[in-house]
């Protein structure tokens, strides 16, 4: 059972790992740049091509993938608590489906990248409101009803996405497919999403112990003084907003939101006070490493980062699962 001090060490270790991943992301690439030069570019305002590459190209992308990984892992952990289902991930309630419909529709008509981002975020919010409204319809708001509504809305979005892909011209098809797989190469504006990530963590951390209590079931949690309905609404809106920010930034990167919370849970237990920040940092680190690998291992070919996360995540997850027999 992690105490406050040992939790501090876990978080410090993960912060260090995240910093190392970011340093690698800034240093590695077609133009290798030494860590000293990276440091100068970031903190001493150095001039020259190397410094420009670090500041203008690699930094936005590295921050974008780190933030995206953190958003998805945190959203996944929250969804798993909300639905009390280990198979829940950030996409299970159709938020990413809504984002994909919005983004692909914008791409289909040849909109600018800003408009694609805006359409993705709008689609995600629309899906969130539709699921919320339908699941809430008669006043009851059970996990099963929420889950089924989300799955159905996601399936509907999937059909719309397939339709749009079949209508798209060849030139646009590739960028659409890359968006769907999760592609960080176009992510140049990570700062709003970073603000969402920080705000999300700040909002949810005071309720972390309430989330532990919620795991004991609704009646028990209420009797222990948790205001269950209010907490569920908070979880739903927050997880949806985090997911919407992530898919708007990088696209539907798979596996991070499902696997990272589980890996962290295997390692440090299910205390949400530690699990939530740890999952955020681990998700960011994993996606940063995966994206750096995606653009360097087969350079000059850039792989979609979503493919890499699956290739890394699936064996790691299966290994941990086999090591932890229930």
């Amino acid at each position: 059972m992690p105490g406050r001090t040992s939790s501090g060490f876990v978080i410090a270790g993960l912060v260090l790992a995240g910093a190392c991943a970011l340093a690698w992301a800034l240093a590695a690439g077609d133009l290798p740049i030494g860590l000293g030069e990276v440091f100068d570019a970031l903190f001493r305002g150095a001039e020259g091509m190397g410094a420009d590459v670090v500041r203008e190209l690699r930094l936005p992308r590295a921050v974008a993938v780190f933030v995206c990984g953190g958003l998805l892992a945190l959203a996944g952990a929250l969804m798993q608590v909300l639905l009390r289902n280990p198979l829940a991930d950030p996409y299970v309630l159709g938020v990413s489906g809504g984002a994909a419909v919005g983004a692909l529709a914008a791409m289909l008509v040849g909109a600018s990248s800003w408009a694609v981002d805006g359409a993705a975020f709008g689609g995600a919010l629309a899906a969130m409101l539709v699921v919320f409204g339908l699941a809430h319809g008669d006043g009851s708001w059970t996990q099963t009803r929420l889950l089924l509504t989300g799955v159905i809305v996601a399936a509907g979005c999937g059909a719309a996405v397939t339709l749009m892909l079949s209508l798209a011209t060849d030139t646009r098809l590739q960028s659409m497919l890359f968006w769907l797989m999760g592609d960080a190469s176009g992510a140049s504006r990570p700062w709003p999403a970073l603000a969402v990530l920080v705000a999300g963590l700040v909002v949810v951390l005071p309720f972390a112990r309430d989330l532990n209590v919620l795991a004991r079931g609704e009646a028990t949690a209420t009797a222990l003084g948790v205001r269950v309905q209010r907490l569920r609404y908070l979880l739903y809106v927050l997880a949806s907003l985090l997911t919407a920010a992530a898919v708007t930034l990088v696209g539907s990167v798979g596996f991070v939101g499902l696997i990272v919370p589980h890996v962290v849970r295997f390692a440090i237990g299910n205390d949400q006070r530690l699990l939530l920040p740890a999952a955020l940092l681990a998700g960011g680190t994993l996606l940063t490493v995966a994206d750096t690998a995606a653009r360097t291992v087969m350079a000059p070919v850039q792989l979609p980062v979503g493919v890499l996360t699956a290739l890394i995540g699936v064996p790691v997850f299966l290994f941990l699962l086999s090591r932890n027999p229930r």
Partner: protein
């Protein structure tokens, strides 16, 4: 319901009636539970015992009438303060994620900790003592998902003991327990009650109710409620009518037993 005069009243219900959908579970009745008393809710499946218990726990409002905890309506209670006064053992204990037995038990300390508080060594000692009370001291490091149904039920009871409320509301506390632990758990709550706590529990076993109750509420599933002392309510004809099955009373070695014919 009569109670020993003015000693601390933990729970009162005035003229409450419960409706679920179009069906009335019980007609208007009142009850009063003082410190040191044990009330048992009996009745056939679907009669509304759990709904009544949840109403008494403040989880839902009665359709008619009012419920007061420690003299105040639930609406006037801060939810955490109420959680320090009354605790609920729910019927279903869903465990979907791994957690150690001790960590699960410590959840009972939630209403005693501040928003940013972490469990102290004293809280851990309280949880360990609660686990020892239900015979789980050796299993504190085990994963709850690896436990049997009866062991999980005892973890839930230990969590409730860790919560340390003055009023215990128990929904079928003997669920999944073997004979030894059924008696051990009910005797544990009998000791707590003699130490000045209050107990309201749903039971299925009439003979356990005979052994541990001061007061009984018998629901017949058709809206009828019979409330009174144990000896007033637990009579063969009342029970036969409520359970729609002939039940006979036997007196053996000074003990009263009810058996279905």
């Amino acid at each position: 319901m009569a109670s020993t005069d003015s000693s601390l009243v933990l729970l009162e219900a005035d003229g409450i009636a419960l409706q679920v959908g179009a069906r009335w579970l019980c007609c208007e009745f009142s009850l009063r539970l003082a410190a040191g008393e044990c009330l048992v809710l009996l009745g056939p499946n679907g009669a509304g015992k759990t709904t009544l218990l949840h109403t008494l726990a403040g989880l839902r409002a009665p359709t008619v009438g009012s419920v007061r905890l420690g003299g105040c309506p639930y609406a006037d209670w801060d939810s955490l303060a109420a959680a320090r006064f009354r605790g609920l053992l729910a019927q279903q204990q869903p465990d979907h994620f791994s957690a150690s037995v001790l960590q699960t038990t410590l959840i009972g300390r939630h209403p005693h900790l501040g928003r940013w508080g972490w469990e102290s060594a004293a809280d851990v000692a309280i949880a360990q003592a609660a686990l020892a009370e239900v015979g789980l001291a050796e299993l504190e490091g085990r994963d709850i998902l690896s436990l049997s149904g009866g062991e999980r039920q005892r973890v839930s009871i230990a969590t409730l003991l860790t919560q340390a409320p003055r009023l215990f509301l128990l929904d079928e506390p003997t669920n999944h327990l073997d004979l030894h632990y059924q008696i051990a758990v009910l005797e544990l709550f009998a000791r707590l009650r003699h130490a000045g706590r209050g107990v309201v529990m749903v039971l299925h076993d009439i003979n356990l109710a005979t052994r541990f109750a001061d007061h009984v509420i018998l629901l017949d599933g058709k809206g009828g409620v019979l409330a009174g002392t144990r000896d007033e309510v637990l009579q063969a004809d009342h029970l036969s009518r409520a359970f729609e099955h002939p039940i006979r009373r036997l007196d053996v070695d000074g003990r009263t037993l009810f058996i279905p014919d």
